[in-house]
């Protein structure tokens, strides 16, 4: 059986700049997969390509075995892929409620969308208290929660989360992960998460890919990479005999 998502050797260029030099990965139904890598490694580009925001000039992307390469973002969203972008991108002039409504609008089943809204708000009472304020007035952590909630309102099969911890305090990051995992259990979500740091994600992910310079450097089960040594080498690109960098706690 085909995996839910199969990214097959995709290459992406922005003008002369090569962002992805052949990235492959798979995500099976129900899995939590994490891409880790430094700034500029191509993590966001990989997610944008999956969600239809950029079209790879080579390679293929398949959902349930059917190619979605070159489809419009709205079509891919309707096929069950939802993106929580880096920087959150909540609609700041719309209220919290309207942001959630945008997430729910593609659902045919209004009653189910309403039920989902109630369920999400019960998990995120802070959003419930601020339903009618403009989303731009929320704090960074609240905006991140809203971005997640809004994406979940589309009832995705695959949720793409791009650097959910960027610019947030550790306590808030823990909350965000708690919510993601709660939602995953309740809504049988499959998760693909981008992170710059592996410390937190090793606990939660089933599998990990390390991306650097537009290439996958390492791929493996999170359980096998627990000590972090292989990840460090792939992340920083040192040879096996290279000296251990002091700051390699990433």
């Amino acid at each position: 059986m085909a995996p839910l998502l199969a990214v097959d050797n995709i290459q992406v260029r922005y003008g002369d700049l090569v962002a992805l030099r052949g990235v492959s990965l798979t995500v099976a139904e129900g899995e939590v997969v994490c891409i880790i890598g430094p700034n500029g490694a191509g993590k966001s580009t990989t997610m944008a390509a999956i969600a239809g925001g950029v079209v790879p000039h080579a390679g293929d992307i398949r959902l349930d075995g059917a190619s979605i390469r070159g489809e419009r973002p709205e079509k891919i969203a309707r096929l069950g892929v939802s993106l929580v972008p880096e920087g959150r991108h909540v609609f700041g002039t719309l209220t919290v409620d309207e942001n959630l409504a945008i997430g729910g609008q593609l659902r045919g089943d209004r009653a189910a969308a309403r039920a989902d809204r109630e369920r999400i708000l019960s998990l995120l009472p802070r959003l419930g208290e601020r339903l009618h304020s403009p989303a731009g007035r929320l704090s960074g952590g609240e905006q991140q929660m809203l971005a997640v909630a809004r994406a979940v309102m589309t009832r995705p099969r695959l949720l793409l989360v791009d650097e959910p911890s960027l610019g947030l305090a550790p306590k808030i990051i823990d909350q965000i992960y708690e919510i993601l995992l709660d939602l995953r259990r309740q809504a049988s979500l499959t998760l693909l998460i981008n992170e710059q740091s592996s410390t937190r994600i090793l606990k939660h992910a089933d599998r990990i890919s390390v991306l650097r310079g537009g290439r996958i450097q390492l791929e493996g089960r999170a359980a096998d990479l627990k000590d972090g040594e292989a990840i460090r080498q792939a992340y920083f690109g040192f040879g096996e005999r290279a000296a251990q960098p002091a700051e390699a706690s990433a």
Binding site: P73, E74, R78, P85, F91, G92, A101, I102, Q105, L106
Partner: protein, 304 residues
Amino acid sequence: MIPFLQNLIDAVSLGSIYALVALGIGLLFGILRLINFAHGDFITVGAYALIVPSADVTARLLIGGWPWPLMIPTICLIVIVAALLTDALVFRPLRRASSPTLMIASFAVSYIIQNGVLMAYGARPKAVDLWSGANSQILIGELRVPMLQLVTLVVTLVLMGGLTLFLKKTPYGIQMRAAAEDFRMAQYLGVRGNLVIGLAFAISGILAGVVSLLTTTQSGSLSHMMGVPLALFAFVAVVVGGMGSLVGAVVGGFTIGLIVTMLQAYLPPDLRAFRDAFAFAFVILVLLVRPSGLVPARNTIERV
């Protein structure tokens, strides 16, 4: 006091027209980042649809002769079709193009419509009497309010109220606001881009259709260039109000109407010929003080 109030009524009436045109331009700019100079020519299309296509000097009414409950929706429909065709033939192939490219394309559309009208109707302006009751006056105290100005104001308020309700309360309105703020993010959430853009063109078509009826009734004449000054003043109104803000477009429209009317009334007679130069000088002043307009678009406010 009475002459001043009389001028104020003129200003509000002229401002209403500019506000309606500015809304049509502002709506498309919000969603597509398109400054649509062809919007004025949509107005021309609506106006010429009133009469029989011919090069004769005297215009014979076509749709303009129909009873108004039929005439108004038909004119709006014709302009909507023109706007949607423009989108499908010109702007859809340019979806990934930059904002200046779109603007240049809108100039091309503008010239094509003007020359199309020239070919079908000839170059001479045509006299049209759409509504002879338009100049009857209503007395409010000592004020004389022409019927047409009252109708213009009421129609403008109704259209603005309707547009506000649509944008705030309906699912498609909320989608349009989301797309205007962050088009790509809206698409990532399944909002259909072409549908939202088509809706914006359709609404700007309705606005242009209504303006074509109001201005034709007021001026009583048609010319293939009639839309150009409207689009120009409305564009200035959009800039003065604040690019990307619909409230700003309305405020800007009324501001321009007020400036132009008051200059016309109170400039020394020798200088009145230069009214527009004074008006634009005032616009420059406003922009020096408030570079992002009177009502800056909220989504340009920095978010944490």
